[in-house]
Amino acid sequence: MPLLLSPSEILDTVRMFWLENLNIRATTLAMNIQKYARDDPDVTISLMETNMPPFIKRFIDEITQIEERFGVPIVNKRLAITPIAQLLGPMVEDLEINEGISVAFKIASSLDRIAKESGVDYVGGYSTFVHRGFTKADTILIESLPEVMSKTDTVCGFVNVATTNAGINFDAIAKMGEIVLKVAQETPNGIGCAKFTVFANAMEDTPFMPGAFASPGGPDATVVIGISGPGVLKAAIQEIGEEADIGKLADEIKAATFKVTRVGELIGRQIAKALGIEFGAVDISLAPDPNGGSVAEIIQAMGLEECGAHGSIAALAILADALKKGGAMASSYVGGLSGVFIPVMEDAGMCEAAKRGAIDITTLHAMSSVCALGIDMVLIPGDTSKETISAIIADQIAIAIANDKPAGVRIIPVPKSFGGEMIEFGGLMGKAPVLNTKPYRSDILIKRGGRTPAPFHSLRG
């Protein structure tokens, strides 16, 4: 039987993998582990450590085989679990807060062992939802974060502080400023904060860390896929040149995203079938590639001297919209965040733009209104007050809630650092600049506490 496709289609596809670094960014096994929860943490740990690794190892084996069979590179293999606060409830009910923190840390250490033994890069779900208020287990999980983020290697988590339906929990926002500072102080250059995010409208089916978790409404296990093609999109935009109008530009982005998403759909379905579990979704989020694929450079390629120049928010909005349209056409199950990621520290172009002063915290906040995450992997001075950190978080969460969209904030107050300083993290993380915060105080607003009324979604002036 002859080839079904034309040579130009074949060569376009080859070019994406060969020259533009197309790959499957993340395959994440989401496991609902509620069934292992018992009153006794030791029994819970024993059940988790006996039952989870064999299945996770099978997942890793199947991925390796599928990667070899299809020739498509799969970069990260991850695990997402039920938000741990849901399991902690019965274990900590009769304990003092400090005793509860020890129990929470034991569970986190167990998850760290499971991840390492099974061969996944990260485990996400050391998380909780507190948008309407705190249970004892929530408080304990939150208070345990500095120890867990500094003493475990693979455990990631988030705290969901707001939803469109509930509004914003300002007590939680205030607490997050304090926790972020503590995590930063207990890890070298504050890097522990990279494994933790403050969320609004946390989305199921996210394969990306630290936002991934297994939905309480899900079956025992599903697989979710994150795809990545910043190089493909940049090349597609460059190819059409500066003469193409905005409609044509959007069309090119849509067409390229379609192809990239199809790879995710194919591989996701193969993995799910091999494991005999449900295929969850493809998260079409566009994220920078550690090998140099930069989202900022895509925005620049659209016609800006620098990412952060006036027009960047328009460019980002066009990019995000075309991405969603191309992705939705390519897969029946698109989910997760499915937006654009612009992490300052991990994106070479964002990093350069921040160094030159084209991007500051206010620009990132503005950009967050049209992308998945705004303040993401942003370094700030070590002497920033907890109230100011809370206020930076509050700004982004408020934008998300007003727009009925998800948002995550990953902010790293690098101890002893000052605005404009370059911090060397080493390895793939590289160097990144510390961004200045505003010198004005926000303390009274943050200390008010309470919960905002749910936003009004009519009369949208």
């Binding site: 039987m1 002859p2 080839l3 079904l4 496709l5 034309s6 040579p7 130009s8 289609e9 074949i10 060569l11 596809t13 080859v14 070019r15 993998f17 060969w18 020259l19 070899e68 069979r69 299809f70 020739g71 498509v72 192809k259 199809r262 790879v263 759909e265 194919l266 379905r269 193969q270 079938k273 056409m329 390519a330």
Partner: protein, 106 residues
């Protein structure tokens, strides 16, 4: 070219698309088919064309191979073809046919 579509991944027929890209020179077809013959991969289709990339014209050859009777898995075939490519001074890229079909058709 046929427009028949096949998105049903339950069908486990392993076919590979082998793309050779580089300067045009003698011995490329012979070198690549020798590796495929040694691995008992049957060549079902073959064509050559010019690839335009960043204002450059590159020679390219596309082969469709049936791996039903292959003596090696795709990973090993890929490595052998890569070595042959280095010997011939061309890039050889091997991917499962299903990836191409899935990416270009709904």
């Amino acid at each position: 070219m046929s427009t028949t579509l096949n998105n049903d991944t339950s069908e486990e027929i392993d076919k590979v698309v082998i793309t050779v890209i580089g300067g045009d020179r003698t011995g490329i077809v012979a070198g690549v088919s020798q590796v495929l013959a040694e691995c008992e991969v049957n060549i079902e289709d073959m064509s050559s064309t010019i690839l335009h990339y960043k204002n450059r014209n590159l020679f390219s050859m596309i082969l469709l191979g049936d791996m039903s009777n292959s003596t090696v898995p795709l990973k090993a075939l890929k490595e052998r073809l890569k070595e042959k490519g280095e010997e011939l001074g061309v890039h050889i890229f091997t991917l499962h046919e299903e990836v191409f079909n899935f990416m270009n058709r709904v």
